[in-house]
């Protein structure tokens, strides 16, 4: 695609300005107010406007109290992301390589289920994983579950929900990357004595890595902050940081703690992402 010489001048600014302004005011600036809120002295009132005290101690308190949900959120998201990676890779590979003229249709089918409400889909899992429904019965039949064990309201259910709900975020970037692989490279590897397994590990997988990186990031990050799955499919012991933050804001009116937890979550995620990208390489992330 020939690169048009881009035009210079004020028109470019003018076109970009409204969107940029919206994002600056309602996305960038809020991080400052989030930070400011996290530094409130909680004993004061938080309806007083831009008053900042430098209570870094809030962070210590918050983490001391809530490090478990924080870790739990990251753990669940991590496991769910791995599951999504396996399932998603199989699906993306099948569509990219094995589907011929059904490719577009299959892609549409991948996204289609996710046009229903997130909440309703998660509620469906309540039914699917219920004690007296087929899945649990089947697993009990196979003696994977004991007669008194349940799936619902356990971490397993939460992770299942997460792995289900965020699957498209994994499949689409993976597909984009796998689809770009030149089939002739796979043929060439066969010509050079690589059997199908060797061809996958030596050619397909390395070339799909950019998609793997994008996909895992786009899945892990939102999953770490999610609490819908944890609350609908889990129990009080599966409480994740998201619901703590929400609760602290709404019920407990403890915005300083909530804000510091929110900031902490964001910082942790940023650090993890940064380390991950450094290891995996940044080519063509966007």
């Amino acid at each position: 695609m020939a690169d048009t010489t881009r035009r210079r001048g004020w028109v470019g600014y003018a076109l970009f300005l409204p969107a940029a302004a919206w994002l600056l005011v309602f996305f960038v600036v809020p991080f400052y107010s989030l930070f400011a809120t996290s530094l409130y002295d909680q004993s004061g009132s938080d309806f007083r406007g831009w008053e900042m005290t430098y209570e870094f101690g809030n962070y210590a308190d918050a983490i001391e109290q809530y490090w478990q949900p924080l870790l739990r959120a990251i753990l669940y998201a991590g496991i769910a992301t791995l599951i999504c990676l396996v399932l998603g890779y199989v699906l993306a590979y099948a569509i990219a390589f094995k589907s011929g003229r059904w490719k577009t249709l299959l892609l549409v089918l991948v996204i289609a289920p996710f046009f229903t409400s997130f909440l309703l889909r998660t509620l469906s899992w309540q039914l699917l994983l219920a004690d007296d429904w087929y899945i649990v019965d089947f697993l009990q039949f196979l003696h994977i579950l004991g007669p008194d064990d349940r799936l619902l309201n356990t971490p397993v259910a939460v992770i299942t929900g997460l792995a289900y709900n965020f699957l498209p975020f994994m499949v689409l970037p993976l597909f984009a990357s796998i689809d770009k692989i030149d089939h002739r490279l796979i043929e060439a590897s066969g010509d050079l004595y690589a059997n199908p397994v060797a061809a996958f590990f030596k050619v397909t997988w390395p070339l799909s890595l950019p998609g793997v990186v994008s996909g895992t990031l786009l899945t892990f990050i939102p999953a770490a902050g999610d609490y819908i799955n944890a609350q609908l499919l889990g129990n009080t012991n599966t409480r994740v940081i998201g619901s703590v933050i929400e609760g602290q804001f709404t019920d407990a009116n403890n915005s300083a703690i909530a804000a510091s937890l929110s900031m902490s979550l964001m910082v942790i995620i940023l650090v993890m992402v940064f380390l991950y990208i450094r290891r995996a390489g940044t080519e063509d992330l966007l």
Binding site: A2, R8, W22, F26, V29, A94, T116, L119, I228, S255
Partner: protein, 267 residues
């Protein structure tokens, strides 16, 4: 047996795909459910009652109506601003363009709880704590939809053959005519796709909305609230409708594309 071995990957892939539809099947199924008790989410009996009495709980329909209103307005604004921004990013060069790309990408990558809570602190600090409601929801929705609109329209625009516009100019079209008669029709599918995506995201959003809605209740918030005491089955009617409408739109578009391609091929 050998057939299975050869097509193993495809079969596995299709199984995964089928798996994604199972919960949808449940939603559709439950829309016909006649529940024995409200607390237990279980299929007890078949009925059309939910479909014929959709607003049995008026709060649900109020919430639904709010979600639709916010969704439409937010979609309108986000699509408009996002399309302008996409044009700016693809066709123009200006200082800070690459950092602008980053600015657009970041909201898509941040967890919703962080987006929602930071926006809430902004409203509170700005003194609007008492005015959380329709407009704050609207603001939040436009904010997180913008990125998706920009990315969608941008990819459509970047993939467009720009020699077409040069040809139009060569054939005496003024810039305005070129835009409306050549560029716009070609980008339109991307814009419409972005609008559809934007509406879905807005309609379905819970976490960000929940924190910034004050006393208003959108449809997802209603479901969440009801989930603690037992959801009325009508929510599944809404869910089924959402699914069916989206699928119909997408299939119609795809069929239309194929029909047009066949017509082109026949000439």
């Amino acid at each position: 047996m050998n057939w299975i071995r050869r097509h193993l990957v495809l079969i596995l892939g299709l199984l995964v795909l089928a798996y994604t539809f199972v919960p949808i099947a449940v939603v559709v199924l439950m829309s016909f459910n006649d529940p024995a008790t409200r607390n237990v989410y279980r299929f007890d009996g078949f009925t059309l009652h939910n479909w014929t009495n959709m607003c049995e709980d008026p709060a649900m329909c109020d919430a639904l109506w709010l979600s639709i209103r916010v969704g439409l307005l937010a979609t309108l604004v986000a699509t408009l601003l996002g399309t302008l921004a996409a044009f700016a990013l693809v066709r123009y060069d200006f200082f800070g363009r690459s950092s602008s790309n980053l600015l657009i990408f970041l909201p898509m990558a941040a967890p919703e709880i962080v987006l929602g809570s930071s926006l809430l602190t902004l409203f509170v600090q700005g003194g609007f704590a008492g005015q959380l409601g329709f407009w704050t929801i609207f603001i939040a929705h436009v904010m997180f939809c913008l990125s998706f609109v920009v990315v969608t329209v941008r990819s459509r625009l970047a993939g467009m053959d720009d020699t077409l516009e040069q040809a139009a100019a060569d054939l005496y079209a003024t810039p305005s005519q070129t835009f409306w008669r050549v560029t716009f029709p070609l980008v339109l599918p991307g814009i419409l796709g972005a609008a559809l995506l934007s509406f879905s995201l807005s309609f379905d959003d819970f976490i960000i909305t929940n924190l910034n809605s004050g006393s208003e209740t959108t449809f997802p918030m209603y479901v969440w609230g009801a989930a603690r005491v037992g959801v009325p089955m009508q929510v599944n009617v809404v869910g089924t409708l959402m699914f069916v409408i989206s699928v119909v739109i997408v299939v119609a578009v795809e069929l239309n594309n194929r029909r047009r391609q066949k017509a082109l091929a026949a000439t």
